[in-house]
C-alpha cells in the first residue's frame, strides 16, 4: 500500500513538472491561469496524499489552504483581472516556443544536478521529488523571463511559489505552520497589490507591456 502511495506521489510530481512545461509553452493568458489552478490542484492532491501517508496533521491544514487559495481564490482573482483589463493574449514571447522548451530541458537537467546534494542529505521518503521542485521553481522563473506582459509574469511568480511549497513538502514534510500561513498571506496580498499596479501601469502606458519600463524618461 505504501509503495503504491509513494508511486502516486512520484506520478503527481511528474505531473507538476509537465504542467510547468505546459505553462512555459502557453500563449493564451486565460489558459495560463487555468494551468496554474490545475497545478495548485495537483499540489493539493500531493499534499493530501503525503498527509495521509505520514499522519502529519498540519499537512491536512496546508492542503486545505492550498485548495482554498491556489485553486479557488487566486485563479478567480486573476480571471477577474483579465476580464477587467481585457488582456487575453501574451502576443510575442521573447524566444520561440521550441527554443524555450529546449532551454527548459537544460534547466531541468541543471535543477536535478543542483538538487542532488539536498536529496542526499534529506531523510524523507519523498526526497527524490526535490529535484522536480527545484525544476518547477526554475521553469517558473524562465516563464517570467520569456514573457513581456505583466499578467503572465505574475502567473509565473505564483507558479514559482507552488514549486517552493512542493520543495519544502518533499524535503521536510512541509514548513512550520506559521511560515506557511505567512507565505500564503503574502502571496494573497502581493496579488492584490499587483492588481492595483496593473491598473496603474495601464493608465500610464495604455497596455501591460513591461517593455515600457525600460525607458525611464519623463516624456512619453
Amino acid at each position: 500500500m505504501h509503495a503504491l502511495s509513494l508511486q502516486m506521489l512520484d506520478a503527481l510530481a511528474a505531473l507538476l513538472l509537465l504542467l510547468s512545461f505546459a505553462m512555459l509553452s502557453q500563449r493564451r493568458i486565460v489558459t495560463l491561469v487555468n494551468l496554474l489552478a490545475l497545478q495548485g490542484g495537483v499540489l493539493c492532491a500531493a499534499t493530501l496524499l503525503l498527509a495521509w501517508r505520514t499522519h502529519e496533521g498540519h499537512l491536512y491544514l496546508s492542503a486545505a489552504l492550498t485548495l482554498a487559495l491556489k485553486v479557488i481564490v487566486l485563479p478567480r482573482l486573476l480571471h477577474r483581472l483579465i476580464h477587467r483589463l481585457d488582456v487575453y493574449w501574451d502576443t510575442e514571447p521573447m524566444l520561440n516556443i521550441a527554443g524555450t522548451m529546449l532551454v527548459g530541458l537544460v534547466i531541468v537537467v541543471f535543477a536535478f544536478g543542483l538538487a542532488q546534494p539536498i536529496t542526499a542529505l534529506a531523510s524523507t521518503a519523498t526526497r527524490s521529488a526535490i529535484g522536480i521542485a527545484v525544476a518547477v521553481v526554475l521553469l517558473a522563473f524562465l516563464t517570467m523571463i520569456t514573457r513581456r506582459k505583466a499578467m503572465s509574469q505574475v502567473v509565473g511568480f505564483l507558479s514559482m511559489e507552488n514549486g517552493l511549497f512542493f520543495g519544502a513538502m518533499s524535503a521536510t514534510y512541509g514548513m512550520p505552520m506559521i511560515v506557511e500561513l505567512g507565505v500564503a498571506l503574502d502571496v494573497l496580498v502581493a496579488m492584490l497589490v499587483l492588481g492595483v499596479f496593473f491598473f496603474q501601469i495601464r493608465e500610464q502606458f495604455d497596455n501591460l507591456d513591461l517593455h515600457n519600463f525600460e525607458s525611464l524618461r519623463e516624456d512619453k
Binding site: 509537465l18 531541468v108 521529488a129 522536480i132
Partner: protein, 315 residues
C-alpha cells in the same frame, strides 16, 4: 519443432499483411462517424489495392531503376518490420532480431528509399514532398529513439520482445516516465504516418501534403505496394506502441496455438487504438507545415522528460 516455428512466423506476417488495410479502414470509418459522414466500407482499402494491381503501370520517361524498385524495397522493409515486432508472440524466430534501434533503422531505410524515389522523376511536387518528409523524419526519429530508451532503461535491454515480456509479467507499477513517453510516441506516430496534425491523408491539396506528394508519380502495382506499405507502417507503429505500453496479452509461448490465443486481444487493442487515433485526428486541426517542428519538438520534450523523470524518481 523448427519447421513449426517458422510456420508460425509466416502465419504472423500473413496476418499482419491482411490486417493492416483493415486497421486503416477502421480508422477511416471511425473518423467518418465522428465527423457525421457516412463511412466507407471496411473493405475499401482492399478494393483499392486490388484495382491497382489489375491496372497497367505507367512510368515517367526519365524514371530510373531506383524509381521502379523503390516500392518493393519499401514494402519489403515494412513486411520485415512486421515480422520483427512482437505484435502477437515474443518467441518467434524473427523477433529475436528485434533490437529496437535496428528497428528504427529499418523504418529509416524505408523513408530514405521513399524520398529518393520521390525525387527521382524530378517533378516539383515529389521533391517538395521528399524534403518535407525528411524534415519530419529527422525530428521524429530522435523522439522515437528517446521513447525506446526510456523503456530500455526500465527493462535494461533494447530487445523489443524482452521489453514486452518484462513489462507484461512484472507486478503492476505506476511509471510516470512511461506515461510521458506514451504521449511522445503517439505524437511521433501521428507525424510518421502522415496523420492529421502534421499531414492530411485524405487530401491532394498540394500546398499541405507530404506523403501523397511523394506518391504522385506512381501508378498501378507500384502505387498499390506503396499504399499497402503505408497501411502496414501504421499497423507496425501501433504494434510497437502496444509492445511498449500495452504489453498484456502477448503470447510468450511457441507454436501456432499460443499465437491464436493472442489474436483476439490484439484485435481488441487495435480496435481501441484505431478509435483513439480517429478521435485525436477529429479533434485536432492540421498544423501549418512550419509548425510541424514545434509539434515534434514537443514530442521530443515529452520523451526526454520521461527519461529525466525515470532517472530521478527511480528510487
Amino acid at each position: 519443432m523448427k519447421a513449426i516455428e517458422w510456420f508460425t512466423q509466416v502465419l504472423e506476417v500473413l496476418a499482419a499483411l491482411a490486417a493492416a488495410p483493415l486497421f486503416l479502414a477502421w480508422v477511416n470509418q471511425c473518423r467518418a462517424w465522428l465527423s457525421n459522414r457516412s463511412a466507407p466500407s471496411l473493405l475499401q482499402p482492399y478494393r483499392g489495392i486490388r484495382k491497382l494491381f489489375y491496372k497497367d503501370a505507367v512510368l515517367a520517361t526519365n524514371a530510373s531503376a531506383l524509381f521502379r524498385i523503390a516500392p518493393y524495397i519499401v514494402f519489403g522493409t515494412m513486411v520485415l518490420a512486421a515480422a520483427v515486432i512482437p505484435s502477437m508472440g515474443t518467441r518467434l524466430p524473427f523477433t529475436s532480431a528485434a533490437d529496437a534501434i535496428a528497428l528504427v533503422g529499418l523504418l529509416a531505410t524505408a523513408r530514405v528509399f521513399l524520398s529518393l524515389a520521390a525525387m527521382d522523376v524530378g517533378t516539383a511536387f515529389g521533391t517538395l514532398g521528399a524534403r518535407r518528409e525528411m524534415m519530419v523524419g529527422f525530428l521524429a526519429e530522435p523522439a522515437l529513439l528517446m521513447v525506446i530508451f526510456v523503456a530500455s532503461l526500465i527493462c535494461s535491454t533494447t530487445a523489443l520482445p524482452a521489453i514486452t515480456e518484462h513489462l507484461a509479467t512484472e507486478s503492476l507499477a505506476l511509471y510516470p516516465s512511461l506515461a510521458f513517453t506514451a504521449v511522445a510516441f503517439t505524437m511521433v506516430l501521428l507525424a510518421e504516418n502522415a496523420r492529421i496534425p502534421v499531414d492530411n491523408p485524405a487530401t491532394h491539396l498540394e500546398l499541405t501534403m507530404i506523403h501523397e506528394a511523394m506518391l504522385l508519380e506512381y501508378s498501378a502495382r507500384h502505387l498499390a505496394l506503396m499504399e499497402w506499405a503505408a497501411a502496414l507502417k501504421l499497423f507496425n507503429y501501433a504494434c510497437i506502441g502496444f509492445a511498449l505500453f500495452l504489453p498484456w496479452g502477448v503470447s510468450v509461448g511457441q507454436g501456432p496455438l499460443a499465437l491464436i490465443a493472442s489474436v483476439p486481444i490484439l484485435a481488441l487493442k487495435l480496435a481501441l487504438a484505431g478509435g483513439g487515433l480517429a478521435l485525436i485526428e477529429t479533434l485536432s486541426a492540421k498544423l501549418r507545415v512550419f509548425r510541424a517542428p514545434e509539434f515534434l519538438a514537443t514530442a521530443f520534450l515529452f520523451a526526454v522528460l520521461g527519461l529525466l523523470v525515470h532517472l530521478l524518481l527511480r528510487a
